[in-house]
């Protein structure tokens, strides 16, 4: 499959990349690892006149951990996330999630920035970022701004990012406590039929904080405040978990596709949410 022709740009700093986006407007798009964008261009679902490759911009690389504050550069690959020992200590849910994305070759080049900026409801990182209450740092011609992951996704492939803005980094506070990312997929390497990210903190025998978010169960990732609220103050017994699962299911809107009918996805969602809560609690 041959994509439509394009001009290729490889700026070495952010200002040059922004200038190229400004110059070519609608015609231009950034490319990171290319493992969502290249397949779409090959299928001619995306036609782009000017590709602005971010690979040579050193500022977009690197993982910084300062106490509980974690900052991940947009061009950090899934493989680099998995290999980072300090990140695995500070926020092990990142590694657990990244290991469930695609396959080794895709993880070697696919970036966290591309994963969250893409806007595909099948991407795994957006729900995790909502679970962690992360914020996305965007830089555009008028300066920089931060947008909460919970406010970033508007519809499939539609996000709060303006066309001339570049995502430079992701920030969140390491959640502490227990965590789990549970994903149901048809085969290894596949996108989720249903997936859930859960973090839980425990104070004595009771849950003191909980966050639940879900992947591929609506046209955007879904953070369920009600599901977290159902757990807080409880001992996360079967009835409490049941209430949280019911609350989470009330917040999703799965549709039928080649991964199954909507009712099946609801069923799969119930299973992964329950497992994620139980596992996060057992680790809290």
């Amino acid at each position: 499959m041959i994509p439509a022709a394009f001009e290729y740009h490889r700026p070495t700093d952010l200002q040059a990349a922004l200038a190229t986006l400004q110059e070519f407007g609608d015609e231009a798009r950034v490319i990171a690892g290319g493992h969502s964008l290249v397949p779409m261009m090959k299928l001619r679902m995306a036609t782009i006149g000017h590709l602005v490759d971010l690979r040579a911009i050193a500022d977009l690389k690197g993982i910084r951990i300062d106490g509980a504050a974690v900052r991940i550069g947009a061009m950090v690959t899934q493989q680099e996330l998995i290999a980072d020992a300090a990140l695995a200590r500070a926020a092990p849910i990142l590694r657990e999630t990244a290991l469930q994305i695609a396959d080794p070759q895709v993880r070697a080049v696919g970036t966290i920035g591309g994963n969250v900026a893409n806007g595909d409801p099948g991407n795994d990182m957006p729900a995790l970022m909502q679970c962690l209450d992360a914020s996305f740092s965007l830089v555009g011609p008028n300066g920089s701004r931060a947008v909460k992951a919970r406010e970033f996704y508007e519809a499939a492939y539609v996000t709060a990012r303006e066309d001339d803005e570049i995502l430079v980094a992701i920030d969140f506070a390491a959640p502490g406590g227990g965590y789990a990312y549970e994903k149901q997929k048809r085969k290894i390497g596949d996108y989720a039929t249903a997936a859930a990210a859960v973090t839980i903190r425990k104070d004595g025998t009771a849950c003191s904080a909980a966050s639940v978010a879900m992947t591929n169960l609506s046209d955007v990732p879904v953070w369920s405040k009600a599901a977290g609220d159902a757990l807080v103050g409880s001992a996360c017994g079967p009835a409490d978990v049941g209430r949280a699962v019911a609350a989470a299911l009330a917040d999703i809107a799965p549709t039928a596709d080649n991964r199954g009918p909507a009712e099946f996805k609801r069923h799969a969602a119930g299973v992964v949410i329950r497992r994620a809560i139980e596992r996060a609690w057992s680790r809290a």
Partner: protein
């Protein structure tokens, strides 16, 4: 659209050629440089038959534009061994019947080559996880896993003997 001068190191040798940025790396390797080891199995980023080593990482060369590879160091199966001088992995695939039709084999071995550098002492389960981006329609994988385990043992023995 403008063509660009693409510079690559392929199997240790410098290559320079005029390409359209949209040409895919697998196409450049196969059609321009005559390296037909990387195969096009699916053309949709799933099967791994097109796997090559690029700057020390396994990549699916059907999903990389030539332009993205500018300046890269690329190794294909042709760079890992040759008839009469098979690599340890190639030899192990032969001995353990790690191939039948052979279509997936260049991608399998190129990925296994990188995997054994990432993890020189893998368990069987780690081999399966590390090779999850490569599909085989013939072998049922069992003998591929066996071949990689055998190659790891042999490479480790050679390494120990050298130390």
């Amino acid at each position: 659209m403008a063509k660009m001068q693409l510079r690559l190191t392929v199997n240790g040798e410098a290559a320079e050629l005029l390409v359209e940025p949209r040409e895919l790396l697998v196409y450049v390797l196969r059609e321009r440089l005559g390296l037909t080891g990387p195969h096009v199995g699916c053309d949709t980023s799933h099967c791994g038959a097109c796997t090559v080593d690029m700057d020390g990482r396994s990549v699916k060369s059907c999903t990389v534009f030539a332009a993205q590879a500018d300046g890269a160091d690329v190794t294909t199966i042709e760079g890992l061994g040759a008839p009469g001088g098979l690599s340890v992995l190639q030899q192990a695939f032969r001995e353990h019947h790690g191939l039948q039709c052979g279509f997936c084999t260049p991608g399998m071995i190129t990925r296994a080559h990188r995997f054994l550098q990432e993890n020189p002492n893998p368990s069987e389960e780690e081999v399966r996880f590390g090779m999850a981006g490569n599909l085989c329609r013939c072998t049922g994988y069992q003998n591929i896993v066996k071949a990689i385990m055998a190659a790891a043992a042999e490479l480790n023995a050679v390494r120990e003997a050298a130390e």
